[in-house]
C-alpha cells in the first residue's frame, strides 16, 4: 500500500527521480489528491511514488522570448496566468474561470495539460493558438504541438522519464476574438462546453480563421478541414460557406453526454462569430 514520496530541490533531482522511479510529479495536487482520495483519515491510494515539485524555481515564470513566443513555465498557476499581460487573451479568459479561487492559486498549467481531461480549461485556448509543450528528461528536451501531445481523454505523449517544462505560445494578433465557457454554474464550475474562436480579417479577406471546442469530445477539437473552408475567403462569401463550415465542425466534435445541446450550442456560437466577421463595424472581442 505504501509508496515512497519525494520533494526534489532541483529540476535535475526531479528528472533523476522521474527516470529511476517514474515518480509522478505533483505540483498543486488539485487533480492527484482528488483522484486518489480514499476518505477521511485514510492515506491516499497512490500506486506510484509521488514527487512534490512545487518548489522548483526552474519551472516558474512567464516571459516573452525573442523568437516570438510567450513562455509559461509549468508551475504557473491559473491565477498568475490570468493576471499576466503577456499571456494571450483567450488563455487568460480560460484561466480566470477555472474552478474556485483557491484552486486557481494551487493548480498549475503543467498539471492541467498533463491531466488531459476533456473538460480541462487551459488546453482548449492553447490548442487554438497552436501552443507547444516543452518536455524535458535527464537526457533530452523536445518540443511538440500541444494538440499532438494530448492523445485523448487522460492520455498524453509524456514519456515516463519526462516532465512538462513549459508551454510556448506563438504571438499572434487577431482582429476578432471569441471565448465562452459554459460551466455547471457561474463560479467553482466544471466546464459543460467551451469554445474559442479567432480570426484575422483584412480588407474583407479572412486571412486566418480558427476555433477550438472543449468538453465536446475525448480531447480538445480543432478541425483544420472546417477552418480551411473559411481561410483566404472573402467575408462576403461567408453566408454561402457557413452551412458547410458548421456541418464540418459538427462532424468533427463528438460529445458523449448532452449531445444535442453541445452540438446546437457550438453551432450557434460559431454562427454568431461568423456574423460578427461580416459586420465591418465589429472587431476585437466578440461578446
Amino acid at each position: 500500500m505504501a509508496v515512497r514520496n519525494y520533494i526534489p530541490e532541483t529540476l535535475e533531482e526531479a528528472l533523476t527521480l522521474r527516470m529511476n522511479e517514474h515518480a509522478v510529479p505533483l505540483a498543486g495536487g488539485s487533480d492527484i489528491m482528488v483522484q486518489h482520495r480514499k476518505g477521511m483519515g485514510i492515506a491516499p491510494d497512490l500506486d506510484k511514488p509521488v514527487m512534490i515539485i512545487s518548489n522548483l524555481q526552474e519551472l516558474k515564470g512567464i516571459s516573452r522570448r525573442d523568437d516570438g513566443y510567450i513562455e509559461i513555465r509549468a508551475l504557473e498557476t491559473p491565477a498568475s496566468i490570468a493576471a499576466s499581460e503577456l499571456v494571450p487573451w483567450h488563455v487568460r479568459q480560460a484561466a480566470s474561470r477555472m474552478g474556485a479561487i483557491a484552486l486557481r492559486n494551487v493548480a498549475t498549467i503543467g498539471g492541467n495539460i498533463g491531466n488531459a481531461s476533456p473538460k480541462g480549461d487551459l488546453p482548449q485556448p492553447l490548442i487554438l493558438l497552436d501552443a507547444e509543450v516543452v518536455l524535458v528528461s535527464l537526457t533530452s528536451e523536445r518540443r511538440m504541438l500541444l494538440d499532438q501531445f494530448i492523445l485523448g481523454s487522460k492520455k498524453t505523449a509524456l514519456a515516463d522519464d519526462e516532465i512538462i517544462k513549459s508551454v510556448l505560445i506563438p504571438e499572434k494578433e487577431f482582429t476578432h476574438l471569441f471565448y465562452r465557457k459554459i460551466g455547471t454554474r457561474r463560479a467553482n464550475a466544471i466546464s459543460k462546453l467551451s469554445l474559442s474562436a479567432a480570426a484575422v480579417v483584412r480588407d474583407g479577406i479572412i486571412e486566418d480563421f480558427r476555433a477550438s471546442s472543449g468538453a465536446a469530445g475525448p480531447k480538445v477539437i480543432r478541425s483544420r478541414e472546417a477552418e480551411s473552408l473559411l481561410t483566404k475567403r472573402q467575408i462576403s462569401e461567408i453566408p454561402e460557406i457557413a452551412d458547410d463550415f458548421i456541418a464540418a465542425w459538427d462532424r468533427a466534435i463528438s460529445p458523449h453526454a448532452m449531445p444535442v445541446y453541445r452540438r446546437n450550442t457550438t453551432s450557434r456560437m460559431l454562427l454568431h462569430f461568423l456574423e460578427a466577421l461580416q459586420d465591418e463595424e465589429r472587431s476585437g472581442i466578440i461578446e
Binding site: 500500500m1 480514499k38 476518505g39 477521511m40 483519515g41 485514510i42 492515506a43 465562452r180 459554459i182 455547471t184 454554474r185 457561474r186 463560479a187 467553482n188 464550475a189 466544471i190 459543460k192 462546453l193 448532452m258 444535442v260 445541446y261 453541445r262 446546437n264 450550442t265 450557434r268 456560437m269 454568431h272
Partner: protein, 713 residues
C-alpha cells in the same frame, strides 16, 4: 444588561463559536478507546444475497450484520412504519442499502478490509422511476401494485358533473426531480456506553426519533437509550429520520463490541447513500368555461418513495393538501399515490411534499392563463384563498390572507406589470411570478393527538435554562427560542441557556420539523416563561407545560377532513431573467419576495431563511440535477451535483407582512419551509416567457432548455 425584546436586532447566539471553529461536531469528538465504523452497502438495486464473503479479520476488527441482532431484538428501524430494515438480509432493495457495519481501530485498515468484503448477488430487474413502478417492472416491490400509500381529498361538485359542464379541458403532466440536501456537515454519529446505557452523540434534528427508532433492535425501550444531539451543521430534513440509519447499525455493533464507535459519512457517501427529496409526477386535468374560468381540477399525484415507506405517507399527505396551492378552486378531486421503487428511500426535505405540488399547480395555472391571454398574476389572484374559504380538506382558512397586499409589494418593487407587458414572449427576457403557502406544524390535530409536545424552563439563581428536545441545525432556533423566553421573562438573552438536547434530561418537545418549532414549541416556552415571570421570586424552580390545541378546529385523520392547518405561512415571489440565446444560460436579474410569517421573532434570522430558502429553490429549479440510472445515483460530489454559489443569483429584495397568528408566540408562525416553496415556479415562469417555450419539468439546466425549445418548435 437590559431586557431583550422581540424586535431587537441581535447577533445569532451561535454565530461566534461557529465562526471561530470552536463548535464541536461529531467529527471533532473523540473518546478513549474509540474505534471507527464504515457501512458495507448493496452495490445493486435489487436482488437476492447469495453470499457475503468476509476476509479473515485482524484482531480488534468486526463485521456486524443482521445476524448480530440479539434474539429479543427485531431488524427494523421504527420511523413512522417499521418497514426499514437496519441491515439487509436475504435480499437488497436499493443501491446503498446497509448490509453490515465493519468496525475497527484503524481507518486505513478498515478501508483495505472493506474492499475485500465480497457480496454475491442474484440480480433482479429494478424499478427506478414512477413509470417503472406503475408498470410493475421486475415485479412488484410493495404489495401487488407498488402503491405504498394513497389518499384523496375532494371538494365541491363531483368531477364527472364538472367535466360535463366544461367548455374545454386542459391537461398536463408536471414533474420534479430528486434533490439532495447537501447539508455542510455530512451524516455522522458516535455510540458508546455511559453508565451502562447506550449513548449516542449524533448530528440530528430529532433526538427522540433516534431512540424510538433503534431501541427495538436490542429489545430495549426508547428511554433505555440516551441521545445527545451534537452541534449540527445543516439538515434540511436530511437528518430527520436518516440518522436512524446510522444509529441502528452502531447500536447493534456497540452491543457486541462494547467500545465507543464513530461513523462519519464521506461527502460521496452522503450524496450517493442518503435520502433525497421525492421525485414527483402530477397529472392535472382542469375543466374550464369559455372565458377560461376554472370549474374544477382533477389531480393525480405520484411521489417516488424509494424502497421503504419511511415518512413518505406523511410527505404525500402534505403534497395532496397543498395541491390547489393558494387558490380556492370551486371543485377539486385530488388523489395521491406513494410509489415504491428500487431507489434509496425518499424522505423529509424542506417543504416536505408541498414544493412538488405547489410547483405543479403554479405552472399549470400560468399555462392556462397564457393560453387564454391573461397575465398569470392577474389570473391567479382571482382565485386567492381568503379567510373562511373552504380548503381541499373541507376545512376553512382561519386567518386573514394578505396575498393581495404581498403581490402589490413585489409587483411595485419589481415593476412587474410593465415588464410583464413589455417583455415579449420569446424575446430572451422574462419575468415570472408565483404564489405559495405552507401549513405550519403537524397536520390537523397531530400536535395534540400524536406529538404531545412538552417544554420546560428551569430557573437557577438568576439564570433560566430551556429544556426541550428541539434542535438548532443552523436555522437559528437557539436564538429564536432564547429570545422568546427572554422577552417573556423580561431579562437579557444572555441569562437564558439552551444547550443541545440530551434525551435523558429534557422533555420531548417533538421533532424539529414541519415548521413547528417556533410556532408550537416557541409558544409552550413562552407560556412557561410567562408563568415563571409571575412566580419569579419563588427561588429556584421549574415550569413544564404541554401543547394545548385550540378548540373548535376539528380534524379527522382517517378521512383527512377538517382544518388541516390553523396557521399557514404565505408567500409571493417574482423572478426576472435573461436567457442567452447562444448558450441557454440563464442570468437572473432580480428576485423579489414577500412572506407572511405571522410575526418575525428575529428579523435577521428570517432574512437569512428567506435568502437561503429562495436560493435553494432556485437551485432546485435551475441546476440541482440528481439522476438515477438503474438505481445508481450519477452525481456523487459537490462538483457534479451543483448547488448555487453566491455568484449565481443576485441580491434579493424581500418584504414581510405582519399578520400575527393568535396561537403563536408573539404572533409567529412557521417559516423555514415556506421560503423554499415558490421561487422555483417564479423562475420557471420567467424562463418560459423568455424562451416562448413550455416547461413542465424541473430542474431545467441549459441542456434541458434545449429540449424545451425543440419541443416548442
Amino acid at each position: 444588561m437590559s431586557a431583550t425584546k422581540i424586535d431587537d436586532r441581535i447577533v445569532r447566539v451561535d454565530a461566534m463559536e461557529k465562526a471561530r471553529g470552536e463548535a464541536l461536531y461529531v467529527s471533532d469528538i473523540k473518546f478513549p478507546g474509540m474505534i471507527y465504523g464504515t457501512l458495507v452497502r448493496s452495490s445493486i438495486a435489487r436482488g437476492k444475497i447469495i453470499s457475503i464473503n468476509v476476509p479473515d479479520l485482524p484482531e480488534g476488527y468486526s463485521f456486524i450484520t443482521a445476524d448480530d441482532i440479539p434474539e429479543e431484538g427485531r431488524n427494523e428501524l421504527w420511523m413512522i412504519a417499521k418497514d426499514w430494515r437496519c441491515f439487509a438480509s436475504g435480499d437488497v432493495k436499493y443501491v446503498g442499502e446497509t448490509i453490515g457495519i465493519l468496525c475497527g481501530p484503524d481507518r486505513n485498515m478498515l478501508s483495505y478490509l472493506k474492499e475485500r468484503i465480497k457480496v454475491e448477488y442474484e440480480e433482479e430487474v429494478p424499478a427506478v422511476t414512477i413509470d417503472d413502478a406503475l408498470s410493475l417492472k421486475g415485479g412488484p416491490i410493495a404489495g401487488e401494485d407498488n402503491i405504498m400509500c394513497s389518499l384523496y381529498c375532494e371538494k365541491g361538485e363531483k368531477m364527472d358533473d364538472v367535466f360535463r359542464k366544461a367548455d374545454s379541458i386542459f391537461e398536463e403532466t408536471l414533474e420534479t426531480g430528486f434533490q439532495e440536501h447537501v447539508h455542510l456537515e455530512t451524516n455522522s454519529a458516535i455510540v458508546r456506553l455511559e453508565d451502562g446505557r447506550f449513548t449516542f452523540y449524533i448530528s440530528a434534528q430529532c433526538p427522540f426519533y433516534v431512540r424510538k427508532s433503534v431501541a427495538g433492535l436490542l429489545g430495549l425501550r426508547p428511554e433505555d437509550i440516551v441521545v445527545k444531539q451534537t452541534t449540527t451543521g445543516g439538515a434540511f430534513g436530511g437528518k430527520e429520520h436518516f440518522p436512524d440509519v446510522l444509529a441502528g447499525p452502531l447500536l447493534v455493533a456497540c452491543n457486541k463490541i462494547r467500545k465507543p464507535i464513530k461513523l462519519v459519512f464521506e461527502r460521496e457517501e452522503d450524496m450517493l447513500y442518503s435520502v433525497k427529496r421525492h421525485p414527483s409526477k402530477v397529472l392535472f386535468k382542469t375543466a374550464l368555461d369559455k372565458e377560461g374560468n376554472i370549474l374544477g381540477i382533477d389531480g393525480k399525484i405520484y411521489y417516488n418513495c424509494g424502497a421503504y415507506l419511511s415518512a413518505s405517507y406523511v410527505v404525500l399527505q402534505r403534497g395532496v393538501f397543498h395541491a390547489n396551492g393558494v387558490y380556492d378552486i370551486p371543485s377539486t378531486h385530488l388523489v395521491g399515490y406513494g410509489v415504491a421503487t428500487n431507489t434509496f428511500p425518499s424522505d423529509a426535505f424542506r417543504g416536505f411534499g408541498a414544493p412538488q405540488t405547489l410547483f405543479a399547480i403554479e405552472m399549470h395555472l400560468s399555462h392556462i392563463a397564457r393560453k387564454f391571454g391573461f397575465d398569470p398574476a392577474e389570473y391567479k389572484s382571482r382565485y386567492f384563498l381568503k379567510k373562511g374559504s373552504e380548503t381541499v380538506t373541507n376545512g376553512h382558512i382561519v386567518e386573514d390572507v394578505k396575498l393581495p397586499e404581498m403581490f402589490r409589494q413585489i409587483a411595485d418593487a419589481s415593476d412587474y406589470e410593465r415588464k410583464s407587458k413589455e417583455y415579449e414572449i420569446g424575446s430572451g427576457k422574462g419575468i415570472g411570478i408565483s404564489f405559495y403557502n405552507h401549513g405550519g406544524a403537524f397536520t390537523g390535530n397531530g400536535e395534540q393527538a400524536i406529538i404531545k409536545a412538552h417544554a420546560r424552563l428551569v430557573k437557577t439563581g438568576d439564570r433560566v435554562r430551556i429544556e426541550v428536545g428541539s434542535t438548532e441545525m443552523g436555522q437559528g432556533f437557539q436564538t429564536a427560542l432564547r429570545k422568546i423566553a427572554a422577552n417573556a421573562l423580561e431579562i437579557d438573552i444572555s441569562r437564558v441557556d439552551y444547550p443541545n438536547p440530551d434525551t435523558s434530561r429534557v422533555p420531548d418537545s417533538g421533532p424539529t420539523a414541519a415548521s413547528r418549532s417556533t410556532m408550537v414549541v416557541g409558544k409552550i416556552v413562552e407560556d412557561c416563561a410567562l408563568e415563571m415571570k409571575a412566580r419569579w421570586d419563588e427561588g429556584d424552580f421549574s415550569v413544564e407545560k404541554e401543547y394545548v390545541h385550540p378548540d373548535g378546529h376539528p380534524w379527522d385523520q382517517d378521512t383527512f377532513r377538517g382544518d388541516a392547518y390553523l396557521g399557514y405561512g404565505w408567500g409571493a415571489c417574482i423572478v426576472e431573467v435573461e436567457v442567452d440565446k447562444l448558450t441557454n444560460e440563464v442570468t437572473t436579474k432580480g428576485i423579489w419576495s414577500s412572506h407572511d410569517v405571522g410575526k418575525a421573532i428575529d428579523e435577521l434570522i428570517v432574512h437569512g431563511q428567506v435568502n437561503g430558502g429562495v436560493i435553494q429553490s432556485l437551485g432546485y429549479a435551475s441546476m440541482e440535477k440528481m439522476e438515477n440510472r438503474n438505481g445508481h445515483f450519477r452525481q456523487s460530489s459537490m462538483s457534479d451535483y451543483v448547488v448555487p454559489t453566491s455568484m449565481d443569483f443576485p441580491k434579493q429584495e424581500w418584504f414581510l407582512v405582519d399578520n400575527p397568528y393568535q396561537w403563536g408566540p408573539q404572533g409567529a408562525k412557521g417559516m423555514g419551509e415556506l421560503v423554499f416553496n415558490g421561487a422555483d415556479a417564479a423562475y420557471t415562469d420567467a424562463v418560459e416567457r423568455a424562451l416562448g417555450a413550455t416547461i413542465c419539468k424541473i430542474p431545467i439546466p441549459p441542456e434541458d432548455i434545449e429540449e424545451a425549445i425543440d419541443n416548442a418548435r
